[in-house]
């Protein structure tokens, strides 16, 4: 446990220090969500209706930022060589890295959601529902992104390829995240149905993501 705790502390420190980019994601999220009302116009009813979808799209795009550096930075400075020779299983190390990444990029999105709900004319219940679905769903985005980060680890500019690889895989998360938010706001299906599936997607990706990422890294040994 000491090893994983040390990894968590290190990755979070790196994220909040110079060049870490922990708050770039949340700033990007704020910008994306803030400019959409300018594009759509001041139709409050329309904004409230598509608000959850806008918030989810913003979160999806924001969570892509920084993923390309998640493993690549350790690969470039030789840290990955040492990580591979530690006694901590690589799967756990990858899960730890993804969790640290989520704490510094995903969690701030959840925290920023109430502020953005105001911009999109969402009532408190709707804002709460979106924040809850984001809290449950953004870890899935990180864990799926982890696989993409492992696949593109040796590429110099892997960020774009990573987005192309990852976005299709995140569609189920997006569908059930928005569906659960809408269910809480307008119905008619109960909130619990899509929300449970969203949680299942997160749990599944939390298991599959680190295993797939570790297998990818081992396969790519060179």
């Amino acid at each position: 446990m000491t090893a994983l705790a040390a990894l968590l502390v290190r990755d979070m420190r790196l994220a909040v220090r110079v060049g870490g980019g922990a708050f770039i994601g949340v700033l990007f999220f704020l910008l994306v969500v803030a400019i959409i009302p300018f594009a759509i116009g001041p139709d409050l009813a329309l904004l409230a209706r598509i608000g959850p979808a806008i918030l989810w799209l913003g979160a999806l795009l924001a969570s892509l930022l920084g993923l390309d550096r998640l493993i690549a930075s350790d690969h470039e400075d030789g840290s990955l060589d040492l990580i591979l020779s530690a006694q901590t299983p690589l799967e756990l190390t990858m899960a730890g890295k993804a969790f640290a990444h989520w704490l510094t990029t995903g969690l701030p999105l959840v925290v920023a959601t109430p502020l953005l709900g105001l911009l999109l004319n969402l009532d408190p219940v709707a804002t709460g529902a979106v924040a809850l679905t984001l809290a449950a769903g953004t870890p899935a985005l990180t864990f799926i992104g982890l696989v993409g980060a492992a696949l593109t680890v040796a590429l110099r500019r892997g960020g774009l390829l990573l987005a192309v690889l990852i976005l299709p895989l995140t569609i189920p998360v997006l569908i059930f995240g928005v569906a659960a938010s809408n269910a809480a706001i307008v119905g008619p299906i109960p909130f619990g149905t899509p929300f449970t599936i969203l949680c299942a997607l997160t749990l599944m990706s939390a298991v599959v993501g680190p295993i797939a990422a570790a297998a990818t890294l081992r396969q790519g040994l060179d």
Binding site: A6, L14, G78, L82, S85, A86, T88, L221
Partner: protein, 220 residues
């Protein structure tokens, strides 16, 4: 955790350490569609150092990475007899490569503390370790401001902060000044006396008495 180290220490107390032996037979390495080397065999026993020499591109680094488990051999076998059977060779080895595995945004102490915890599985007092490699006075300085030689010293500190029996050193004296080279030679001698093994890729003498030598390329 540090089970390997404990078993290793146990073995030292029994006096059974002379059984520990790194053995490679008929290793071959294939990279980028090219045969880097083939038919490489060697054995290193406790207290022994093996220097790998050869011209640039002969495969010295590849051989070390192969032992460290970072490359797969295309042929041949590699074994650490008398080591911890629960652990892979890589988990009982320190790999000191060309890259220093340091994060510029973290301080000297934070960098070393991370590797000590991550590789060793427990927290240790590192101030004396930093003093040993001559970085005691700048423990709080971000690694971004270190010179190449100081970065190397910090990497070397990792070898003494976490005890592992096998040291795999890839041109360890690069960027080190005369004092640091002597310091490293002292550390290596102490490691060998304490029952360790060293395999190092070098271009010249590194201050060890009577090391074995394996020449790659040319004479192969």
């Amino acid at each position: 955790m540090a089970a390997g180290w404990h078993i290793w220490q146990e073995a030292r107390r029994w006096g059974g350490m002379d059984v520990m032996r790194l053995e490679a037979s008929d290793l071959a390495c294939f990279r980028g569609g090219r045969q880097v080397f083939s038919g490489v065999s060697f054995a290193v026993r406790v207290g022994e150092a093996l220097l790998i020499t050869g011209p640039n591109g002969a495969g010295k680094s590849s051989l070390l990475r192969l032992v460290a488990g970072l490359l797969r051999p295309s042929a041949g076998t590699l074994g650490l007899d008398g080591g911890d059977p629960e652990l892979t060779i890589a988990e009982q080895a320190h790999y000191l490569g060309h890259q220093d595995a340091l994060k510029p945004a973290l301080s000297v102490l934070e960098n070393l503390d991370f590797w000590a915890r991550f590789l060793g599985g427990r927290a240790t007092d590192l101030s004396s370790t930093l003093a040993d490699v001559g970085l005691g006075a700048i423990a709080g300085l971000p690694a971004a401001y270190l010179s190449a030689g100081q970065r190397r010293r910090l990497s070397i500190a990792r070898l003494i902060a976490v005890k592992r029996p096998l040291w795999l050193l890839d041109e360890p004296t690069t960027a080190l000044d005369v004092t640091a080279q002597a310091m490293l030679a002292g550390l290596m001698r102490a490691h060998l006396r304490g029952g360790g093994l060293i395999v190092a890729a070098v271009h010249g003498p590194i201050g060890l008495e009577k090391p074995a030598e394996l020449r790659l390329g040319g004479s192969q």
